[in-house]
Symmetry: C7
Subunit: 259 residues, 7 copies
Amino acid sequence: MFRNQYDTDVTTWSPAGRLFQVEYAMEAVKQGSAAIGLRSATHVVLAAVNKTASELSSHQKKVFKVDDHVGIAIAGLTADGRVLSRFLRNECINHAFVYESPLPVPRLVVQLADKAQVCTQRSWKRPYGVGLLVAGLDETGAHLYYNCPSGNYFEYQAFAIGSRSQAAKTYLERRFEAFNNHSRDDLIKDALFAIKETLQGEKLTSSICTVAVVGVGESFHVIDQKTIQEMIDSMEIAEEAPAEPDAVQEEAEAAPMDI
Amino acid sequence: MFRNQYDTDVTTWSPAGRLFQVEYAMEAVKQGSAAIGLRSATHVVLAAVNKTASELSSHQKKVFKVDDHVGIAIAGLTADGRVLSRFLRNECINHAFVYESPLPVPRLVVQLADKAQVCTQRSWKRPYGVGLLVAGLDETGAHLYYNCPSGNYFEYQAFAIGSRSQAAKTYLERRFEAFNNHSRDDLIKDALFAIKETLQGEKLTSSICTVAVVGVGESFHVIDQKTIQEMIDSMEIAEEAPAEPDAVQEEAEAAPMDI
Amino acid sequence: MFRNQYDTDVTTWSPAGRLFQVEYAMEAVKQGSAAIGLRSATHVVLAAVNKTASELSSHQKKVFKVDDHVGIAIAGLTADGRVLSRFLRNECINHAFVYESPLPVPRLVVQLADKAQVCTQRSWKRPYGVGLLVAGLDETGAHLYYNCPSGNYFEYQAFAIGSRSQAAKTYLERRFEAFNNHSRDDLIKDALFAIKETLQGEKLTSSICTVAVVGVGESFHVIDQKTIQEMIDSMEIAEEAPAEPDAVQEEAEAAPMDI
Amino acid sequence: MFRNQYDTDVTTWSPAGRLFQVEYAMEAVKQGSAAIGLRSATHVVLAAVNKTASELSSHQKKVFKVDDHVGIAIAGLTADGRVLSRFLRNECINHAFVYESPLPVPRLVVQLADKAQVCTQRSWKRPYGVGLLVAGLDETGAHLYYNCPSGNYFEYQAFAIGSRSQAAKTYLERRFEAFNNHSRDDLIKDALFAIKETLQGEKLTSSICTVAVVGVGESFHVIDQKTIQEMIDSMEIAEEAPAEPDAVQEEAEAAPMDI
Amino acid sequence: MFRNQYDTDVTTWSPAGRLFQVEYAMEAVKQGSAAIGLRSATHVVLAAVNKTASELSSHQKKVFKVDDHVGIAIAGLTADGRVLSRFLRNECINHAFVYESPLPVPRLVVQLADKAQVCTQRSWKRPYGVGLLVAGLDETGAHLYYNCPSGNYFEYQAFAIGSRSQAAKTYLERRFEAFNNHSRDDLIKDALFAIKETLQGEKLTSSICTVAVVGVGESFHVIDQKTIQEMIDSMEIAEEAPAEPDAVQEEAEAAPMDI
Amino acid sequence: MFRNQYDTDVTTWSPAGRLFQVEYAMEAVKQGSAAIGLRSATHVVLAAVNKTASELSSHQKKVFKVDDHVGIAIAGLTADGRVLSRFLRNECINHAFVYESPLPVPRLVVQLADKAQVCTQRSWKRPYGVGLLVAGLDETGAHLYYNCPSGNYFEYQAFAIGSRSQAAKTYLERRFEAFNNHSRDDLIKDALFAIKETLQGEKLTSSICTVAVVGVGESFHVIDQKTIQEMIDSMEIAEEAPAEPDAVQEEAEAAPMDI
Amino acid sequence: MFRNQYDTDVTTWSPAGRLFQVEYAMEAVKQGSAAIGLRSATHVVLAAVNKTASELSSHQKKVFKVDDHVGIAIAGLTADGRVLSRFLRNECINHAFVYESPLPVPRLVVQLADKAQVCTQRSWKRPYGVGLLVAGLDETGAHLYYNCPSGNYFEYQAFAIGSRSQAAKTYLERRFEAFNNHSRDDLIKDALFAIKETLQGEKLTSSICTVAVVGVGESFHVIDQKTIQEMIDSMEIAEEAPAEPDAVQEEAEAAPMDI
């Protein structure tokens, strides 16, 4: 498609009623490493791929605690994500200070979306280049949201964003109906399987992913690497036995190639 | 038509006296999923198509409660719509606080239109990319308005906006004369029929649409899915019998193809 | 005429000393539906065509009451017109509050013109795209003004603006000498005849026009549709008799085609 | 002459050290209808052509009273002229309030010129598109100034601006040496002759021109139409007799064609 | 030389380290009519050509008194010069009020230069288009400065700016060594000779030039026309006798043609 | 790759979701002279190449003390680095004043990253053109961070930035596993070896590099040249013996050529 | 090299990580007349070429006293240099007022560099087009710094900037090792020799250069012309004897041609 003059300024509409700069910012999310989220009735699990830029460095933080009951996983421009995570933390602290109760997750998500919307309507700014999976628990149960650079947000049972996230989405779509009744550990295992899908055959180890959980009786926290590695090891033993699921899985892995 | 230099800035008039950027923003409304509204003397019903982006997600909210006596349905840029719905809520709260009475619907609509107009006359902003159907009840009865990105608003007996809304408009035009005396349930049924027109043969289920009502003795609220599904089911039974209306309807469904 | 670089910015003069953006905004007035005004020594009548966008909608308001002694009819960008009408209302209220007397019409008109002028001299704004006929009564008698997007205003005995207004102007020019001594009802009848001229053969009914009057002993108000329809009916009876005036009229109707 | 990039912005110098946008604004003065001024030792007379846009309208005001001792005639963008005349009025009122004496005319003229200069040195504004003839009387006698969009001003014995002003200038140059000792009425007559020169053979009537005078013992005021018409009539009687001056005059009328 | 993108904005450097917009503003000085200055140990004389735009007008003021001990002559954009002369007056008044002593000339010149420099470093302004010869007397003697649009200033024994100033400069360079010991009247005569050089053979009369002087025991003031004319007359008598200087002079007059 | 319109403004996204201006700023880091950092459990060493621009000048400072427990080494635009180092000093001072304890290193690094992020989202600024290695010691031990112009930061065991840093990185990657248990002096020696790698065969002397250390019981300070030279001398003696490591090293030196 | 879009705005990075506008501003320094500085342990000498624009004018000031212990010599845009010298003076005065001790030279230099850096990171400004040699004496001895338009600064034993400064640099590099132990007068002589190098064979006289000195027991002051001329005269006598150094010198003079 040929476009020449409507896609350099966020305050310029195209003749077809599109804001190209917002769409381009959404592309930035696809360039980040993958992040996935899934939830049961009582727990939400976030997982993110954390490959280090070099042997020498630690990985970049992709999963952030916001408050005891909320956390996020990001994909896209990490610096934008970090700034937004600080914004979220402030919102939670202010609410807790004023109302002496945790900020309900849906309200937090709306405030985040409104902040993103502003950047799509001012000529001297640019839309944020980061997608956020928001996992939280409040009086209405466990929540998983996806906040997009466009200022939109969606509630999900399970979702995956970032590069090669299509493979993870395919996996999650095949399995999501069971998630609502999953135990905490089953959720984590499915998160690990979904992360594995995005690795295109690369070996999954606890060193290249971060997994965090929040749930009833459990504050948002990142699960330590040792626990994750044990789960991965047990998954692999289980996998070696049944060959058929593997076939299906390879098919899923092939899918992103078509995108 | 060839245009090259008058359509990138909202503060630039074309030689023929048009503001292209405002017209382009109006195109954004046509790209959103359909929303319809219709009213009798005592009730207003809003309905919106709510197809989810994926199996995994809940649908995006398209119908918002503003106050006990007012609600909106949006089509276009959802983030812009959400920001405007918050603006409307604030206006209603402030009025209720100061005057201890609900904000009359026509005044609310003017305030919304004025906010939209400002964005059509400042070079560092862009017009909002969202159309709003405002349904409300006040001392002068039930009202249905359409607020456009251009800062205009219109009062309607019934209206449809968003993608493939022409089919719904055709349906509503055929039937609107009776609406003023409709019962609440007849209004809802006509809303469902109109929504069905926009689906191009896809099956109407309660999971892909939201229906809300406000009326005498009834605050603005979204009707629960079960009730909607029962109504859809009863409509289908009724439809199976008479074949002729179907023919007319197919013709109506064909119409949007010509657009 | 070829122009390339002087017509996209309101603060740029063309080599010939013209402000093209202001001229383009004046074109917007011609695109609105027609509005006409005429006055006698004691009364001013405003009339506007109010065709609804669709069967389903009410018409857009084109005639606004500003104060007991002033009202306006607009042609062009309705949203701009509404914002300016609110400005006029505020000016009148403030004056009445401070001086305990109604704001003289000429002063109101100057304030409106000055507000319009500002928008022709700031690079981050655009000229308003609306023309206003201001009808008012004060101690110096009845007044009819036309305020233009350029920040100019003119006093008129009778005037017509908007699409196909040339036919109405032709009619008014043929008759204006008698207006000063017209009775209130004769003014209204001439307003209806002038409106009819802009309809290009379409039938004039009370549903497609708004007529308002202000005069000695009579606050500015829109005349109810029933009264208007009765007047239209009586006009038609009168017209059927003499065939000749009709011929003249067709000629007048043909005129706009040449524009 | 070919110019391409230095003439769209008032803050951009051309390589030859010119500000094209200021020069273009000066062209706007030439497009307005003509205004002339002339003065004796004790009186200043301003006159302006006031052709109405249509039979239906009154003419646009081109001559404005600023204070008892000052008035202006404008040519060019009327809206800009009106805004500047309000500025002048405020300056006079403020001075009178603070010093209890009328603002000397030269100081008023400098304040006006400084206001115009500012608009030639800010990128977000445009130069005013109007020329002003300022007529005033103060302790130093009668004054006639011309204020230009460039922020310059000049003192004149007599001057003419606006469209076809060259013919009037030619007339004034032939006669100006006598002006200083003219009586008030002779000044007015010469003003009328000069105005006539700009009409290109069109008949001069009191309805198409405004004449104002300020002088010793006489506040600035517009002379009523009846008096003007009587003067025109007496001029015509006088003219019919001598044929020769007419010949000279036609030559002068032809001159502007060459411009 | 071909330049395309570095010369439209005052904040853009060319690859060779030049600010073209500043250089273009310096061209504006060359387009004004000529102004010259020269000084002895005790007196400074300023002279400017003041040709009137038409027979009808007085000339534009080119020489301004700033304070009792300082005055300026300008060449270029007169409106810019007038605004700067007001700035200088304010600086002098403020200093006199605070310190009860006249502002030393070098400090005044620096303040003027700093004001000009600001306009060469802000994107929304333009450099002033005027050159100023500043003549002043303070405790350190008589001073003559030239302030340039670039924000630079230079002290001179004698200098000439404006159109055809090269001829005057050539004259001054031939004679300047004697100036320091000149009497007041000899200075004035040399000023008149220098002015004459810029006239390209046109006759020098007191009506087309302004001469001002400041010196020990003599406030800055413009010398009255009669005195100047007498000096011119006496100069001419003296000139008629010796033919040789004339020859030299013609050569000097020819020089500017080569520029 | 061809890019034309998305890479001149930091607020413009490319269609692929990239911010080219941020990527270009990251190129500036590669143009500065090399800086390296490495840490053990208790110490962090920073080293920077400091070649002087000419024999006459001292070298530009590339290593800055921020507080007793923190210091930085920079590569890229030195002026930007200096401004950021002042920012860091202020943050440390403010924290120490308010909390009476040193600012933890990770928090300092986040504040620095947030400051950098702001410059990637405002149209009137540019991203900083400097990379910073932040070395610090706090209650959680020794830290080494790299802060990038994009607003990202990474924790490293060892890292090298600036021109020809690839050779140093290759050296560090081969050795980094041992660093955590290195003694302070071994760290410094490895820093010197790494710096040597970036010199492409040029002789390493204490005059062309700066080495700084912070560790348990040792405030951040630059090590004096004499000590460094002694270490270099002892390294050379050691090197002369084993030939094999040299071979490997040459290979590493060749690598940057391929970049 | 072809560059088209990255070099007109100071906030735009080139793809290679360069800020062309900053580099262009550095070119402006090379266009100014030469300035040189050199220092011993106890004294700093600044010298600048001061050719007058014409016979009639005094030279432009290139050497400025900042405080008793600091002075500067500039090359490039003189107006920018003057504004910065005023800034330096204010900094010194404020420091002296607050701390009752002179501002240390290195701190002054950093404040100057920070002011320059700001102008390289704001879109509405331009980098300063001037280089400054800062000479100062404080408790740590004599200092000589060069401040560059880029916001960088360097400490030097001796340095030369401006047009044809390469010849002076070559001279200084040949001799700088002895400078630290030079007497005050030897420093001045070397300054004069270096200045002579930049004159390309033109005769050095005290009228075309300014020399200033600051040192132990000696405030910053410009040395009077008579003393300088005597030194020049004695240098010439010395030079006539040995022919060989002259040969070397000619070689050095030729060098700049290659630049």
